[in-house]
């Protein structure tokens, strides 16, 4: 049965978006969990898939590690029914997780198997977010196999941007024009001239910017507790992820320019030094 009622999905099938980066540790899993939770909060039935076979983590970020029975490899190999393997979030009716296998090697499934497995869920969800492993090998290829769109996560650092650039090239070769998410920006450092700005990053990578997330301690607190940061309405990062989720759905929400809103910041701008 088709449980979706929104209009944003393509005819008869949910959209599959791969979240990838090339470099590890830039925030792919946090991004996948946060956007999944945000889309679910916005009424979109969303499935997040952990494609990092052997090194799963999306389950702990979502606080669902105790409820895993089957995983994505079981679905790909036909060892269980598709709906036996997905776990519903405690916090949302609309958010589901398909965990990775922790004991298998990432080469155990191929691209075609992965694509077939993902396609089994398309009809039931508005959005399917696939958390890609770091790197550009088999695990990355599997994660991209069934994707309609891609989101590249990067941080404003030389190594992360370099790897993101590789991934842009690989995705273009697959006919996917990815969107860019710049994570962990520190506007104070940008102002000091010690961090690449959003414009710099966008200029270098030359792809569409879908959002910016500030470096924010609430991300770590949320990860400690296994609760996606978007549930914390006081978190700047959580709010940023919510806005990005809306942009994914096609809403035109401006990206904040990151200027300080403190009294001194406003005063500074009045004086022309902000």
């Amino acid at each position: 049965m088709d449980l979706r009622n929104g209009s944003s999905a393509k005819k008869g099938a949910g959209e599959v978006i791969v979240v990838t980066s090339g470099k590890g540790g830039v925030g792919k899993t946090t991004t996948t969990a946060s956007l999944g939770a945000a889309l679910a909060l916005q009424g979109k039935k969303t499935l997040v898939i952990d494609a990092d076979i052997g090194l799963r983590n999306l389950d702990v970020i979502l606080g669902l590690e105790n409820r895993i029975v089957f995983n994505v490899v079981d679905v790909a190999k036909g060892l269980c029914k598709p709906n036996q393997a997905i776990i519903r979030s405690k916090k949302s009716q609309n958010l589901y997780l398909l965990p990775a296998s922790q004991t298998d090697d990432k080469d155990i499934v191929g691209e075609e198997e992965m694509k077939v497995a993902i396609d089994k869920y398309r009809r039931e969800f508005h959005y399917i977010l696939v958390d890609s492993p770091a790197g550009i090998e088999q695990g990355f290829k599997n994660a991209c196999a069934g994707a309609d769109r891609a989101l590249i996560v990067t941080t404003p650092e030389v190594s992360a941007i370099r790897d993101a650039d590789r991934v842009v090239g690989l995705l273009s070769a697959r006919g996917i024009d990815p969107d860019l998410l710049v994570n962990r920006i520190d506007y104070d450092m940008v102002r000091r001239g010690d961090m690449l700005s959003i414009d710099d990053v966008q200029d270098i990578l030359g792809i569409n910017l879908i959002g910016v997330v500030e470096r924010d301690e609430t991300i770590i607190v949320a990860a400690n507790c296994g609760e996606p940061v978007v549930y914390n309405t006081k978190s700047a990062a959580g709010e940023a992820f919510s806005r990005i989720a809306r942009r994914i759905g096609g809403e035109a929400i401006p990206i904040p320019d990151g200027r300080s809103n403190s009294l001194f910041g406003r005063l500074g701008r009045r004086l022309g030094i902000g």
Partner: protein, 118 residues
């Protein structure tokens, strides 16, 4: 605000510019798929060819790969030193059309910019 004030007074820190130029260097090589040696010889040969027709300032000579959508553009920036009358004729008679590309930050002193789509 105080950091901004400090910058105005004492000048900005520069690590961002270092990051940019290092990225620029690795990305040109990554995107072109050329080795260090190939890149160096590509550069040398280009300079040789351009010098046959123009007087150039080799210091500012720069090769870049730029991506917009699904097209990648090879950008060769070559500052031309126009001193003599014959050099001006050289520029006017050149078949290479100087094309101004979109990069805002490149609106600098570079005298000539030849672009070709790869």
């Amino acid at each position: 605000m105080f950091t901004a004030l400090k910058e105005k007074l004492f000048g900005a820190s520069r690590s961002k510019s270092v990051a940019k130029s290092r990225l620029h260097f690795v990305l040109v090589q990554d995107r072109a798929g050329l080795t260090n040696e190939e890149m160096a010889s590509f550069r040398r040969e280009l300079v040789d060819v351009i010098e046959r027709y123009f007087v150039i300032d080799e210091q500012g000579f720069d090769i870049d790969y730029e991506r917009a959508g699904d097209t990648t553009t090879l950008l060769i920036n070559s500052p031309v030193v126009v001193k003599r009358q014959d050099a001006i004729h050289g520029v006017a008679g050149a078949r290479h059309q100087a094309k101004s590309r979109s990069r805002k930050k490149r609106k600098d002193q570079r005298a000539s910019q030849a672009a070709s789509t790869a």
